[in-house]
Symmetry: C2
Subunit: 110 residues, 2 copies
DNA sequence: ATATATTTGACAAATGATGTCAAGTAAATT
DNA sequence: AATTTACTTGACATCATTTGTCAAATATAT
């Protein structure tokens, strides 16, 4: 039996907009909670600007989204765009994983 | 039987310095080939400055290192530092891989 | 039509990336 | 030990990117 996993390839912006609208919140309401201009939030939702990590955390809060999930989407999206044009993108990710493990194992100090 | 892979966790800077010295080249010689001040190269080798992608390409050339290998080390190092402090680093990399695949499959259009 | 919500673009400020330069230190040579 | 050669350091300059403000333009809903 074949199991197929359907990957939902929504951007963080799309996730945010969808959830905001489903909650009936206005840009200005959400934006003021994040302490940014609604223009920026508008652009974030349309992938015209990148949110900061703090933006993401506050967005998860007000939109009742799981913070870690949203952060994972956000950071992985940033990385994916960063390396998508490299031939060796997938090798890069594998090596990065080893380096992360190494760094974490030495994170005792500092 | 257990196979263990020893991961060499040299930084790009260390790789470059080691190879430059083994070739008996001076900072100033290599730097001039990269068209940068030797002070920058010195800092790159000691991980005090980040090289540009162009720097890496020229370094591979003059130091007779494999360009793709060096680029992979360089980019993965950048990414590893970027996310090493996240709890969800390894989840991030897995999701990033999916996103990259998705982006590449849609890379037909621009 | 009017009011409300969103989008757009010009601009500003802060931050980060990238480089120059000269003076300081370290290492090797005479 | 003095000199030369190599490397390091820090102050500074320049430029690009990020992050934000604001007001006018557009779209949507009453």
């Amino acid at each position: 039996m074949m199991s197929s996993k359907l990957i939902q390839m929504e951007t963080v912006g799309q996730i945010i907009r969808a959830k905001r609208e489903s909650l009936g919140l206005l840009l200005r309401q959400v934006a003021s909670h994040l302490d940014i201009d609604q223009a920026i939030l508008s652009k974030i939702e349309r992938n015209e600007r990148k949110p900061t990590k703090q933006n993401i955390i506050k967005l998860a809060e007000i939109l009742k989204l799981d913070e870690e999930d949203l952060l994972v989407q956000f950071i992985s999206e940033r990385i994916a765009y960063e390396i998508a044009d490299e031939d060796c993108a997938s090798k890069v990710l594998k090596v990065a994983e080893q380096k992360v493990k190494y760094l974490k194992s030495n994170l005792v100090k500092n």
